[in-house]
């Protein structure tokens, strides 16, 4: 058995060498397809991530009555935190607000006003499910009615724009992902089927001299896996190189995990196995 497998492997490799041009065409087709797929994958994941970051920024600023005691502030904090739709409520004291102001504008209001004009506030992060224009609006109204709250500020317009565009982008992205994935599957599988088809006289002769079906199938499956694997590896390497290149110019723009990078390789191996396997099987049945 292991000897047979070794033989099939050898025969598979020899077969690839024998048909060098066809092998080159097949491998490069797979490589190009899976590179495109990989690039798209990185793009998709990061579009989703960036859209998520935007949604994350949908926060409310709740300004409160300056005369509230620390006891009352603590109670208000508990009340806000327990509201449905609130992920996190953070108290920002007058001093903290001043610090942030200085950091952001580089000027000290104390210097020309003589006192700290900034009110204390709560910063409310919203739960993902409520990160919609309507959700934010409802939540803001609810908070406005709480005692001790002076004003609720949020960028409603920005929320609506982000919301609308992120929906369009994610929808288009998912649609394109499906198309690219289907194209990759069909292209790789069909390329390998054609390779098998070009070997039909060899397969016929194998049947003629009494080779079993599994024996006939094996070298082709090995060839398919090798071609798919090499094509996929090229895809993975190119995508990795591109991601590194982008990271050099725009650090932190792309975030990529290892599984994402090696997915083209895996897809290549899998499609190589299935494409050639199905190709020979159909041929043997006919």
């Amino acid at each position: 058995m292991s000897l047979n497998l070794l033989y099939s492997f050898r025969e598979g490799v020899i077969g690839l060498r024998r048909a060098r041009v066809a092998t080159f065409v097949t491998v490069s087709t797979i490589a190009v397809t899976l590179t495109l797929f990989g690039i798209f994958l990185v793009f998709t994941v990061n579009v989703q991530r960036i859209v998520g970051l935007f949604r994350e920024r949908m926060a409310l600023e709740v300004f409160i009555d300056n005369s509230l005691s620390s006891e009352q502030i603590k109670k208000l904090d508990e009340k806000l935190s327990s509201l449905s739709g609130v992920r996190k409520a953070t108290f920002v004291s007058k001093d903290e607000a001043l610090k942030r102001f200085k950091k952001e504008f580089g000027e000290d209001p104390l210097a020309f006003l003589g006192e700290n004009p900034l009110p204390s506030s709560f910063e409310i992060k919203i739960q993902q499910a409520e990160q919609t224009p309507q959700g934010v609006e409802t939540l803001a109204k609810k908070i406005e009615n709480i005692e001790g709250v002076e004003e609720v500020v949020y960028h409603g317009k920005l929320f609506r724009v982000v919301d609308r565009y992120s929906r369009i982008i994610i929808f288009a992205d998912i649609l394109l992902s499906i198309i690219v994935l289907l194209a990759a599957i069909l292209l790789v599988a069909n390329t390998l089927r054609l390779t098998v088809l070009s070997q039909r006289s060899t397969i016929q002769i194998m049947q003629l001299v009494g080779a079993t079906k599994s024996f006939i199938r094996r070298p082709y499956i090995i060839q398919g896996v090798l071609q798919g694997g090499i094509g996929g590896a090229v895809g993975s390497i190119v995508v990795w190189g591109l991601v590194r290149g982008v990271a050099l110019r725009f650090p932190r723009f792309l975030e990529v995990s290892l599984p994402l990078i090696i997915l083209p390789l895996f897809l290549g191996l899998l499609l190589g196995f299935l494409g050639s396997g199905i190709g020979v099987k159909r041929f043997l049945r006919a």
């Binding site: 000897l3 047979n4 033989y7 025969e11 024998r18 006289s201 060899t202 016929q204 002769i205 194998m206 049947q207 003629l208 001299v209 009494g210 080779a211 079993t212 079906k213 024996f215 006939i216």
Partner: protein
């Protein structure tokens, strides 16, 4: 050995064979003679179990065409050699590899393959051509490679479908001589041809077929 009893074969609307009875004994040389389209090739394909009879019984060695399982067919084929008018060789390999192909495709070990290939190449007079590519050979030589390949697994019978159909008279004589030699060593031969004059010179049993029926 080979036994066909009341075999009928139909392809679509065409009745290709009817009422065929045929018997080939071990070591016998039988020629099926008839015009093109008489059903000779169909008969050989039935015996090679590439197709199945519509009616009737076909026994080849211990295999019954009616009851053979798909999984058994490859093992059956190893015991039956076959050659064709168009040789069916692998053009991208040399003579040695073409013959070795039949052995490795049936799981024979490498060392044994080499030994056996040299043996059949010697028997078919091709030893000196073992590293030639197929397209460097004459038609007669190519048919000999096909015969060597068919003999590699030591079949008990060699089926030959118009083996001289593409050959000139000189090459035809050579191939017939080779077949006779193989037969003398004990391998049965069942040859189909449309050239009646060919078989008249051979010391063989002749079966005449026309329009799908055996007439003599």
């Amino acid at each position: 050995m080979i036994q066909l009893s009341d075999v009928w074969y139909r392809a679509g609307r065409d009745q290709i064979l009817s009422e065929v009875d045929l018997h080939v004994d071990p070591g016998e040389f039988v020629c099926i003679v008839g015009p093109s389209g008489a059903g000779k090739s169909t008969l050989l394909r039935l015996i090679h179990i590439e197709i199945f009879p519509t009616r009737g019984k076909i026994l080849v060695a211990n295999y019954d065409a009616q009851t053979i399982r798909a999984k058994e067919i490859p093992y059956f084929r190893r015991r039956v050699g076959i050659v064709f008018q168009d040789f069916k060789l692998l053009e991208d390999r040399d003579v040695f590899e073409n013959v070795a192909f039949a052995l490795w495709a049936t799981g024979v070990r490498r060392r044994q393959i080499k030994k056996r290939v040299f043996q059949v190449l010697a028997e078919t007079g091709l030893s000196h051509k073992r590293y030639s590519m197929i397209n460097e050979l004459s038609g007669g030589e190519q048919q000999r490679v096909a015969i060597a390949r068919a003999l590699a697994n030591e079949p008990f019978v060699l089926l030959a479908d118009e083996p001289t159909g593409n050959l000139d008279s000189e090459a035809t004589d050579e191939i017939l001589e080779l077949l006779k030699k193989i037969n003398r060593k004990g391998t049965a031969i069942l040859m189909a041809t449309h050239k009646e004059e060919l078989v008249n010179t051979l010391p063989v049993k002749v079966v005449k077929i026309n329009e799908g029926k055996i007439i003599e």
